[in-house]
Symmetry: C2
Subunit: 245 residues, 2 copies
């Protein structure tokens, strides 16, 4: 499994993903799960993925080839006029890849399924964030809680539900994500460091800042340690249960 989160802040977009992949417990390796494309001054696109690795890689590769293939006349994610059209290209590519894998009579034990979160901005349009389903359709993020999670979403969800606000600073939002990832990593072996972080600044139309959080990242270790301490203290500070409650 994977764990990927994308936040839509008023200041910009933040994508964070783990890099662990496994085809069985004896076949573990590290792959990036978040990808970016852009034309400075025109558009920036971020895409993160959870699910079947072969499917994800085929989708990413196909999108990249569409960009290079300037003669075929059909649009790529770098020529589509709106983020909605970009989402259609990604979702159709995903549905096609799954369709091709599924048509053979050999059935895989795991499905060929994958989910994507797509974010980005084109020209002076509003930033967009979409969740793309393996069926080839997609939804836009809600205004109230503008974030999406894919993969092992549940462990790290309660803290996001409680604390995420779209007016947060990048620094506060990244700190919140660190806690959400730390809770997930502590509870589930299939999500692991390093983490990839992408930060796109609203209206900049310039490349997202990237950052890799590895096992020896002092900040992550400190957050993990202090969060554990402070949860225990918070728990101890709650009023005692008494049986006559």
């Amino acid at each position: 499994m994977s764990y990927c989160v994308a936040l839509k802040l008023s200041r910009g977009l933040i994508f964070m993903s783990d890099t662990l992949t496994n085809g069985g417990l004896d076949n573990i390796s590290s792959y990036p799960k978040t990808f970016s494309w852009g034309i400075p001054g025109n558009r920036q696109i971020l895409l993160t993925t959870a699910g079947n690795l072969a499917t994800s890689q085929a989708v990413i590769k196909t999108l990249s080839e569409q960009i290079k293939d300037k003669n075929n006349g059909s649009q790529s994610i770098l020529t589509a006029p709106t983020m909605f059209q970009v989402a259609r290209i990604v979702s159709q590519t995903l549905a096609e890849v799954i369709d091709v894998s599924s048509k053979w009579h050999q059935k895989a034990e795991n499905k060929f399924s994958a989910n994507f979160i797509l974010g980005g901005q084109i020209n002076n349009n509003e930033m967009a964030l979409y969740l793309i389903y393996p069926e080839g359709n997609f939804i836009e993020v809600s205004h109230k809680k503008p974030f999406f999670q894919i993969g092992e979403t549940k462990y790290g969800r309660p803290i996001l539900v409680r604390a995420f606000e779209s007016e947060m600073s990048f620094e506060d939002a990244i700190r919140l994500l660190m806690v959400s990832f730390d809770s997930t990593i502590k509870a589930n072996l299939s999500v692991g460091l390093p983490l990839d972080l992408f930060v796109y600044i609203n209206n900049s139309l310039s490349e997202a800042k990237t950052h890799k959080i590895t096992e020896d990242n002092e900040y992550f270790r400190m957050v993990s340690r202090e969060w554990a301490d402070s949860l225990k203290k918070s728990l101890a500070a709650l009023p005692k249960f008494e049986f006559n409650n």
Copy 2:
């Protein structure tokens, strides 16, 4: 879905379960999911369940009928000599119920699957806690982290993994469970109040104390409120992320 947790403390057993069941979003009601049987001075047995309601009810009903049917010669959970034998009776009953439901050609959209957690004590034997799978087999709880969860387990797991210790007092453990349930209820619509709480005191061989935590339970509301506050404060007290980290 459901959320049920059973803790094995050195002081005794604690079971907590929600009571919400749903067959679709327009068919929601409240059923108990934790059941107890016992013979004071001889044994006490607790059973909690998550999954298909028809399957759970059939298992509970069958176990109760086996107890009443004293002429049939086979053992019931109140006559089996050890908790291991009790676990075998429960797991066989479960597997049989699922088998009977599955043999018809009509297939249900949802599987007939259910999980159980069984806990209890017989005579002066050690208390036992088992997780029973729909396949009809079961495992005993680990010594290191002696608790089981079934149903919507992931949202409430990180705090249990971090804070649960088998030497806790009942009061501390119940407080921890309240937090774990609160996180789950906040993140997932299919888990809801009231909660049922059962506390069995080690070596007492007397009935578990029970307690119902309803929507207007002042303690639960206070824990929920204070926990939310204190998470936000803890988050704000963590060191700031800086981009040069």
